[in-house]
Structures are given as C-alpha cells and as structure tokens.
Amino acid sequence: MPKIKYIEHSGKEHVIDVPNGWSVMEGAVKNLIPGIDADCGGACACATCHVYVDPQWIGKLAPKEDMEQTMLDFANGVEANSRLSCQIKVTDELEGMVIRMPESQH
C-alpha cells in the first residue's frame, strides 16, 4: 500500500497508507484528514477536492481528462500543480507522494 503524505493548509502532516486503486481524495476523507470536502463523493462533479501535488510527483500522474481540467478551472487558488484529488488513482508508483491542501474548497 503506497504511503501518501497529506499536508494541511496549517502545515500539519499526515502520512497515510492508501490502497492501490483508491483515489487520493478517498485516502484523505476516509482517514479524517481535514481540508477536502468532496461533496459529490468522487464523481468529478463539484470541484471541492482540489489539492496541490508536489511538483516532483506531477509527472508521474495520469494526465488530466477534459472534465477534470474544466472543473479545476473554476476552483479557487488554482496553480500549475493543482489537481482534483478524486481523479488521482493511487498506484505503487506514487509511494511517498506529497499532497498539499488549499485554504478552502469553497
């Protein structure tokens, strides 16, 4: 199970074992890490699971699909390394990945 490091906006860190095949969003929500709302439960319908992926890892992720890109366009504080965490599927390749939370999802 890959370990993912989630860093809250406050700087508080959580290292979580996330099962392969789960999304980065699920890894956070099911482990009580604050900062991701994911109102739609992972359907890429609400843009409330926005995160920043450490630049070192961005290249290892599957590219964004159109829907994620367009939803992301309307999130707050979007940067080049922004992603919707419900659309990042966890694989062994992502062992050690660092994810940072934005200040707010709304």
């Binding site: 789960w22 699920e26 099911k30 482990n31 009580l32 739609c40 439960g41 359907a43």
Partner: protein
C-alpha cells in the same frame, strides 16, 4: 428543556447522507452532548449515487461507499444504532421510541428519514425478479441476475432507470426501458436534453419506448414478461425506477406539519424549536426558486444538514444554496444548477452533435438554471450566475466563441 442549548443529547433519525453530515457538523459547530444516529439499514452511512453507477457495475467495493470509517464515529463520540428503526416521536417528553420499546431522550432532534421507492401497483407487481434500487441490499439482489445476455426491463425513464440502463447495456444485458411520458427525465430536464439522451441510449442498444406504460407483469412465481399495450416483453429481471415518496410518517404522527415532505423553515427547523429535518424528506422554502419545494439530491442533503446542525448547536444559519444535481450515463456527465420553471426562456449554447452543450434558462433576462452535458464551464459559471441573479444577453450566452468567464465579468 432547561439548561444550555448544547448540554442534552442530539438524536438523528436516519443514517443517510443528511444524517451523517449533521452528526459531523454538530461536532464542528461545537455541540458537546451525546449524538445518537439511528439507521434501519445494516450499514454505516454511505453514498447512494454510485449504487446505480459504479457500484452496480462492480467497479467500486462496498467499503468505498461508506462516507466515513468507523473510527470517525468512535473518535467523534457519535453512536451509530444500525439495524434499528424509530417507531415514534414524543415531542412533549422529548423522546424517540425504537422498535423493541427502548426510548431515547433528546434535547435536539433531527429527522433525516429520506425517501422510499414508489412501487408498481399493476397486476403481477408482487412477482419475484422485480427490483428497486435505493440501497446496497437492493443492488446485492440485482447483481446475480445482472449478467450478459439477461433480459432486463426497466420501468421508468428517469435518472435511476437511465443510469442503470447505461450500466446494463454496457454489461451486455438486453435492455428495454419503458417510459409512460413522451420523453425521458421529463420532470427534471428540458426537451433538448431528453431527446439527446434518448438518442444516445438507443444508439447504445437500449430499446427505449416512450408513451408506453406497464399494463401488467406476467409470470407464475418469477417474472417472465412485462406486458404493455404493444404486447409482452420477455424479462428475466425488472427494475422499477418510478420515483420516491418522502418518509414523513414519524413526523406527521408526532403532529408536525407535512405536505410533500416535512415542513421546515429556512433554518431546517420544524414548528417545534427542538425538532429539525434535513434532506430528501423536507419541504423547505427555497430562496432561489422563491417558493417551497422538496429536493432529492446529495447537495441538498449535505447543505441543509449543515444548517440544521448549526441550529441544533444554537447557531442558526440560513440554508439558501443554489441547488445542483448530476447524473452519469455512459461518458456523458450531466450537471444541472438552479431550478427551471415553465415559461423560462431556453437558450442553447453549443451544438449537441459536438457532444458538449448546455441549455440555459432565463427568467426576466436573468439566469435561473442551467443544464450541461460534458460542459463544466457552463455548469460552474452558470451556478455563479444564478447565485448572483445575473442578467445576460441571450445572443451572447448562445455564442460559444465568447468564453463563459467573459460572460460573468
């Protein structure tokens, strides 16, 4: 009740999306008393939307449906009483009776009982092989029959029926959808979207029949066919998706006013200051629509539950979000914001043939609602336009060469 607003217990009847959100929000709002959540299913609170999509398709394990792990409820000191049914509310005594006779005392009560499915009433509607799709156990009953080559007749061309049709036809079942109205999802979307989805389903191989109600279900013990005016349609499995009925009985028997849902105010509170209600079971004043209504959606459950929890914790807050909805069928993502009314002017933006388009609804020149298909910018900006009561020139809205962001600035 004497004492402070937050010293007694909060009891939540219903362990769905609204109940779970309220329990969580009660803690974030600083509610210190015990929280007890009563659910009549065997499972901790879970997401329903994937049931008719990825869960039915076998692409999502049961555990991933659960909104929160058990550890969350333990840490937040939220007691889950699963497999438990509430039988009565005594508002005078501030108690909720459970099946078996136990009574729970509340300082604040939330009714989040949701809805139940409407059932067929035609001859043969008792036969085996007729299924609903509302909860995990329903899907478990469908799955053994949900195999390639099986003949599935779906009664009702609404969200549930069409989402299941999309999954079923992809799985290799032979799918017939019977809709009694002259178009699918007639209650929820414009004719433009109905026709687009009808075409898409037919091209995918669904035998979609409009204006064709069910006359009877035929069979001895197990369903064999579904009869309509044009003859019997052989069936191994029948799925009924003809709408839901709000579970208002507990509230009504406790003397709370109900009219297509439990009547609450904009703070999700009933006429009893200690009793709140949230989610699909409520009839609430909607600021956006300017009238009372009942919504069936995840967003309504979440946001109304947050408002209810705030009120239960002694910090009343108004619930006045722009309603939004989504539906996944095939590779089509439908997203809807706002509430359309008859008489609104419809503006089409984008060519449906391109696979990406939206229908905007203008009321007095102001954006009142938007329905989008694979068109997130239209949905996301549409939501903001609705919230801001923005007026837009119809010709500019219809012009896809003008980006949505420019329309709002």
């Amino acid at each position: 009740m004497a004492g402070s607003e937050t010293s007694g217990a909060a009891v939540i009847i219903g362990a769905g999306q609204a109940g779970a959100q309220a329990a969580q929000s009660l803690r974030t709002e600083g509610f210190k008393g015990p929280i007890v959540m009563i659910g009549d299913e065997a499972y901790p609170p879970y997401q329903r939307p994937p049931l008719s999509k990825k869960f039915l398709a076998g692409e999502l394990e049961e555990e991933r449906l659960f909104l929160r792990p058990q550890a969350f409820y333990d840490e937040a000191k939220i007691t889950l009483r699963l497999n438990t049914r509430a039988t009565a509310i005594d508002r005078e005594a501030h108690t909720v009776s459970l099946e078996g006779g136990e009574k729970l005392t509340y300082a604040k009560l939330l009714i989040a009982t949701g809805t139940r499915v409407r059932r067929l009433t035609c001859p043969g509607s008792h036969l085996k092989g007729i299924c609903d799709l509302r909860n995990i156990d329903d899907v478990r009953r469908i799955q053994p029959e949900f195999t390639p080559g099986k003949r599935m007749v779906i009664v009702g061309g609404g969200y549930i029926g069409l989402e299941v049709a999309a999954v079923a036809v992809k799985r290799g079942l032979k799918v017939t959808v019977l809709e009694m109205a002259d178009r699918v999802m007639a209650r929820a979307v414009s004719e433009t979207l109905s026709r687009y989805y009808e075409d898409f389903h037919r091209k995918a191989g669904v035998d979609l029949r409009l204006g064709e109600p069910v006359a009877a279900v035929e069979g001895d013990d197990h369903v064999r066919a579904v009869a309509t005016a044009s003859g019997p349609i052989p069936a191994d499995l029948v799925l009924v998706g003809i709408g839901v009925i709000p579970n208002v009985e507990l509230a009504a028997e406790a003397g709370l006013a109900c009219d297509n849902g439990i009547l609450v105010d904009e703070h999700a509170r009933t006429a009893d200051p200690d009793v709140f209600a949230a989610g699909d079971c409520t009839n609430h004043p909607c600021a956006i629509a300017g009238r009372r209504l009942r919504l069936e959606s995840v967003q309504n459950a979440i946001e109304q539950a947050k408002a209810a929890a705030a009120g239960m914790a002694g910090k009343p807050r108004v619930y006045a979000e722009v309603p939004w909805f989504w539906s996944d069928q095939y590779e089509l993502k439908m997203q809807i914001a706002g509430l359309a009314e008859p008489g609104d002017t419809q503006i089409l933006r984008g060519d449906p043939a391109s696979g990406k388009f939206a229908v905007f609804y203008l009321r007095g020149g102001v954006v009142a609602a938007v329905e989008s298909v694979n068109a997130a910018p239209e949905f996301m900006m549409g939501r903001q336009m609705i919230a801001k009561h923005l007026a837009v020139a119809p010709d500019r809205l219809a012009d896809v060469n003008i980006p949505m962001k420019q329309l709002i600035s």
